[in-house]
């Protein structure tokens, strides 16, 4: 009987923690980090065993701390590192409006392709394709990368300038091993200009190059990405979404044995990272 009560209490606490966590997620999606943090605290207190709750709480608490640091020390030497970390958090949480001012400041400080891509991506997320084209066009030819060119083509296609986008697409070449970020941009570019076959081939390559722990997130992004909307109903897109990662990533077996660890044989290399 006592066990029954105990398990019932545990289920109740778990569901209550789940409610608090969901509430926190909603508040986070609305951009209210401090209110979300309170809900995460409640969720963690109700369910101490849940690692997801704890890690989300730690992450949001850290984002709040970064916000405070930026507000308190706007010209600190660590400003850029702090701003990049915070904008990355905003972007992952879908808080593009909050990310935009940081992206602008970062791009003003340093007009690198990476900063341009981040700013343009934020503009695109906010349906501001004109601004995205302007940002990417401001990069000179020497600064342009495959990723920045691809994103510019995407922005142009969204503006309706499909021919201009196609012209860029015909010049972009991705051969050999590339980072998944670039491959994803290129896949979006091909999809945006209607080149379905290379789009799906590149998307498949991209998924194969993404570590397993981040693959679901990227696939989710692809499902919702407007650039893939024209191909969403195609079988090739569904097939691409079924692609498995080819990257070895540790998923610790729990310590009893390392025989199933996919990182076995690569531990030394990962240690030097």
């Amino acid at each position: 009987m006592a066990m029954l009560w105990l398990s019932a209490a545990s289920v109740w606490a778990g569901s209550d923690a789940g409610t608090a966590f969901s509430e926190g997620e909603k508040l986070l999606a609305g951009g209210d980090l401090r209110a979300a943090l309170k809900q995460y605290v409640a969720a963690v207190k109700l369910d101490r065993t849940n690692q997801e709750y704890l890690q989300q709480y730690m992450l949001v608490r850290r984002a709040v701390a970064l916000q405070d640091t930026l507000a308190r020390e706007p010209n600190s030497p660590q400003w850029e590192q702090t701003a990049v970390a915070l904008r990355s958090f905003y972007s992952a949480a879908g808080l593009h409006a909050q990310a935009l001012p940081l992206d602008r400041k970062l791009f003003e400080r340093s007009k690198t392709p990476d900063n341009a891509i981040q700013l343009a991506e934020t503009h695109l997320s906010l349906d501001q394709s004109d601004e995205a084209v302007a940002v990417l066009s401001s990069l000179n030819a020497a600064q342009g990368t495959s990723a920045s060119q691809a994103l510019r083509a995407v922005a142009l296609a969204r503006q309706g300038q499909v021919d201009a986008a196609r012209q860029i697409a015909s010049q972009v070449r991705v051969s050999g091993p590339s980072d998944p970020g670039t491959l994803y941009m290129v896949a979006r570019m091909y999809a945006a200009v209607g080149d379905v076959e290379p789009a799906m081939a590149t998307l498949t390559r991209c998924f194969e190059a993404v570590p397993p722990s981040r693959l679901d997130l990227l696939k989710s992004h692809a499902r919702q990405c407007p650039d893939f909307s024209s191909v969403a109903s195609r079988a090739s897109f569904t097939a691409a979404l079924r692609t498995e990662s080819k990257v070895s990533e540790s998923k610790c077996s729990g310590g009893s044995s390392c025989s199933s660890c996919p990182m076995r044989g690569n531990c030394a290399r990962s240690a030097s990272k």
Binding site: R62, A65, A85, F89, S253, C258, S259, C267, A268
Partner: protein
């Protein structure tokens, strides 16, 4: 004698099989060759090869001590691969599979291969920092839960070993085993061995024919061959010289076991016996050989639990005159890979960076793993260490937030209201 040895072999094989398949234990941590493979990495980098632990050093030490005392008795009584190979040969005999007897010269030449295997394995392992040999290791292929890292090569090698073992006696142990190559270096200086009493030897040659390691026992006063596995097959095969001549005069036998001189005086002692090198007439019964082997190996296992040698050590910077050490219990610090990740978090370069000297000694394992962190108290403190271990870390290279998987026993992140 043979039955005793088979019982010991069977017990150890059963122990390993139950450990691997029943308890899902990481039995590789008790492989003495793992200790040999890890020596260089531990010496230079302070951590063990993946899936190994300092227990490998202890068991290696125990086996080497046993080898110095009773030669390669480990091979003859404990090694699971040796047991499987030998038993397969017996099966082959029972099935009347034609057996191959390799000429002595060929046998000697082939036995040199194991030194080459040892060098190749160690060089490749030490260069890669990983157990390169595992992909070809028949022992791992035959006695493991067949994880992702077993290559088809391992099965090919295992199949070859099985087939070869049916027609040849101990082919892997005699010719290819790299651990045998290591043990040979110590076995050569073994403090005990097979002694032959030439006066009572009928020179029938049965001992040499029965020796699985092809040692010409009938032609030596004392077996000094490093490859002797103390199986005592030769001693068991030695006929009692009953009708040869009158019993020899009672020799002065110092320290002899109680029953041995009596038998010798009665003239029924076989010409072969196992005994210490320095007191050749002293006879050691088989149980003493087994007891020495068990004492050495079990002693090593016990010592590994009593002496806390860390299996992961990481050091940064020069130690200042005054340091402080904190011992923490860390959750999810299960293996070398996790320990590397732990070191990665401590070596971070963000808001929670730990400045100055840092020395980490860890004992990765299931549950709460012990970690000792020594630091410069003038530059950091215990709370900063806890933050570095548990706070999420932003990887600038990948633009990615990596949450910390580690928890510290007795440390509640909820009690830290403001980190800045």
């Amino acid at each position: 004698m043979r039955r005793n040895r088979r019982v010991v072999q069977g017990c150890f094989l059963a122990l390993v099989l139950v450990g691997v398949f029943g308890l899902h234990a990481n039995c590789e941590r008790w492989c003495p060759f793992g200790g040999v493979e890890s020596l260089y990495t531990y010496w230079t980098e302070g951590n063990m090869l993946c899936s190994l632990g300092v227990s490998n050093f202890f068991i290696l030490g125990g086996v080497l001590a046993a080898t110095l005392l009773v030669r390669r008795a480990f091979c003859g009584y404990m090694c699971p691969l040796g047991t499987i190979s030998e038993w397969l040969f017996r099966v082959g005999q029972r099935w009347q599979v034609p057996q191959v007897r390799v000429p002595v010269l060929w046998d000697r030449a082939l036995s040199m291969l194991k030194y080459g295997v040892l060098v190749v394995v160690l060089v490749l392992t030490w260069r890669a920092g990983e157990l390169i040999f595992r992909g070809f290791d028949p022992c791992y292929a035959l006695i493991s839960r067949h994880g992702e890292d077993i290559t088809w090569w391992a099965y090919v090698v295992s199949a070859l070993l099985i087939v070869a073992s049916l027609v040849l006696l101990l082919p892997f142990c005699r010719w290819l085993c790299p651990l045998a190559a290591v043990l040979n270096l110590f076995s050569r200086f073994g403090l005990s061995g097979v002694q032959r009493d030439a006066e009572h030897c009928s020179e029938c040659g049965k001992c040499a024919r029965r020796c699985p390691m092809r040692i010409p026992v009938d032609r030596v006063q004392q077996v000094t061959a490093a490859r002797c596995i103390a199986c005592l097959e030769c001693v068991a095969a030695c006929p009692v010289p009953v009708a040869r001549q009158s019993p020899p005069a009672a020799d002065p036998v110092d320290g002899c076991l109680a029953s041995a001189p009596r038998l010798a005086v009665a003239g029924v002692a076989p010409a072969l016996h196992w005994g210490p090198v320095v007191a050749r007439r002293q006879r050691w019964p088989q149980w003493l050989v087994i007891a020495i082997l068990l004492c050495c190996t079990m002693g090593a296992v016990t010592t590994s639990y009593l002496v806390p040698v860390p299996s992961f050590v990481k050091r940064r910077g020069e130690a200042p005159p005054h340091t402080e050490t904190v011992t923490l219990q860390i959750g999810d610090l299960t293996c070398r890979g996790r320990a590397n990740l732990f070191g990665y978090f401590l070596d971070r370069d963000d808001l929670f960076a730990i400045p100055g000297y840092l020395h980490v000694a860890a004992w990765p394992g299931p549950g709460w793993a012990d970690v000792q962190i020594t630091f410069d108290p003038t530059q950091t403190d215990r709370e900063a260490l806890k933050h570095a271990i548990t706070e999420p870390y932003f990887e600038t290279e990948d633009n990615y937030w990596r949450p910390s998987p580690f928890q510290i026993q007795g440390y509640d992140p909820l009690e830290i209201p403001d980190l800045d």
